[in-house]
């Protein structure tokens, strides 16, 4: 890529908007996933009995089971949220940036 083109794209406000919006979004989602996972694994390391509590009186199911399943589901939902916004909003911005340099 020539320096001229690099400077042109770099100074394009749409490019700057894309970079800041997307990196903020990607890092926020990553941190949410990391916090969920590390909270889970730290509870297991320090206080495994927390997850042994029953979900209801008279039930044998412990709260650890629905929590575990929810973490799996949350991973899927978080990827869905990212793909939805990136394939719409972010790809539109990229398309406009590409049009701008033609």
């Amino acid at each position: 890529m020539q320096q001229e083109l690099v400077d042109k794209i770099k100074n394009d406000p749409k490019y700057q908007a894309l970079v800041s919006k997307r990196s903020r979004f990607a890092w926020i989602l990553s941190i949410i996933m990391l916090v969920i996972y590390y909270t889970f694994i730290m509870v297991i390391a320090f206080s495994p009995q927390t997850f042994a509590a029953k979900i209801a009186e008279g039930s044998v199911i412990t709260i650890g089971i629905p929590i575990g399943i929810l973490i799996i589901v949350s991973a899927f939902i978080l990827t869905g949220i990212y793909v939805w916004r990136a394939n719409g909003e972010f790809d539109n911005l990229i398309h406009q940036i590409k049009e701008g340099i033609k």
Binding site: I41, A52, I97
Partner: protein, 561 residues
Amino acid sequence: MSRNFLIWGAFATLFAATGVFATGGALDGAIEKQSLNVAAIVMFLLFVAATLAITYWAAQRTKTAKDFYTAGGGITGLQNGLAISGDYMSAASFLGISALVYRSGYDGLIYSIGFLVGWPIILFLIAERLRNLGKYTFADVASYRLAQTPIRTLSAFGALATVILYLIAQMVGAGQLIQLLFGLPYWMAVVIVGVLMILYVTFGGMLATTWVQIIKAVLLLSGATFIAFGVLYSFDFSFEKMFTEAINTTRDAKGMMSGEVIMAPGGLVNNWFDAISLGIALMFGTAGLPHILMRFFTVADAKEARKSVFFATGFIGYFYILTFIIGFGAIVLISKNPEYLTAEGGLLGGNNMAAIHLSHAIGGNIFLGFISAVAFATILAVVSGLTLAGASAVSHDLYANVFKRGEVNEAQEMKISKIATVCLGVIAIGLGIAFEKQNIAFMVGLAFAIAASANFPVLFLSMYWSKLTTRGAFIGGGLGLLTAIVLVVIGPTVWVAILGNEEPIFGSKYPALISVTTAFVGIWFFSIIDNSKRAQIDRAAFEAQDIRCQTGIGAEGAVTH
């Protein structure tokens, strides 16, 4: 010409396989192998015939290096998502995780979750950048603005080390499993897997490998769904009933947990170091596996790359939920049935057979045959993906870009990649046979540790940190690699379990926290003190790289056929 070779090779393998199956059971079925399973063999032969037909079809479409390495870049997001989940749901994770649930209940879920949560992170931080920058291998990305020779050499070495460790683990697992399921001698099973994998990869390249993965993923997901459905059916679709009966199943065989403890975390992770370190190994290790990273170059653009991870996360997550149900179902349905037990009360063929025996308990001989064939197919698909990644590291990174400094024609590079595939296949067969009786439990852990400590940090910082230099990446990545290997060797899995010492020098099975930190700190330190001429080139090139990374302007497109 090569097409004729493929046809003859395919016929010869099918013929040999049939012959081997016909005699295998009679030879020494007496030891601890199952008797010859006809349904399993018929279904496996069908799978082999179908995949060889696909290889023939793919061979006609594999003409250029781009076809060979990335299937021309024309795989869709859904197809790639299935293929990624096919790569990730190995026989080890299907049989291993359901066995872990069978043995200790809840702990199996902890493991699955660790394996899954790396995927969202890969999507958010790596997938589209990788697609926008890379061509055939992850070393393309890592060395994009750095000096080719040192960084490609380091990345190719990291890729080969990961691939070979993983391959050995798969081959030994394949041999033992097939010996049990099909009544075949160990060495023959290893040879069949090796030969088929060489055929798929050399002739069909990435296109055939992708379709083998897709078919296998669909078969495995359907089979596991059927077992889980059968389990739930036998408890009238009540989880309460299933868990209650599992708790009430008392088992006294060695290592088995019973009673209420199976419903809560047991001893898998019991200190903060292991908890963090295991998490890092699984997360960053997944993001550093060469055969997984390579899959992102098979799609047309960043949009499809994102979709692939979305679908893959869904399939893998669903699969892990199934393994949890399968493990609990097995506790109730097979751990008291003498048909599946040894005299001591353990499972026939070992703990990893829980899902296999359960398939028999639920669907009889025919379904057992189906699941056995799926397990075999799973191994074939995973080793093919691994071999292709290893061969690309040899031909594209080491030969074309290091040895020939990029001055190479495509035909020559393709030839080298095919030779490399055959060599890797032969090495895998040889090591698979050599390690038959060895304890290989440490190998997958070591592969993940190397991927997390050597491949991932260099790849990640090359995309994110403008001040990274060649020297920093090379020294830091090398330190990460060394630390991972040394800590595994002096840890419990090698120092105690294999070398027979009383106490490990390094107390944890999970070195990633230390080795990954070493790599990142090493890369940072040796980059900031680097004032060489090369360092200026490396830093100056970041801006242009970052724009391509962010927008895909100038990225490799797809080829249509």
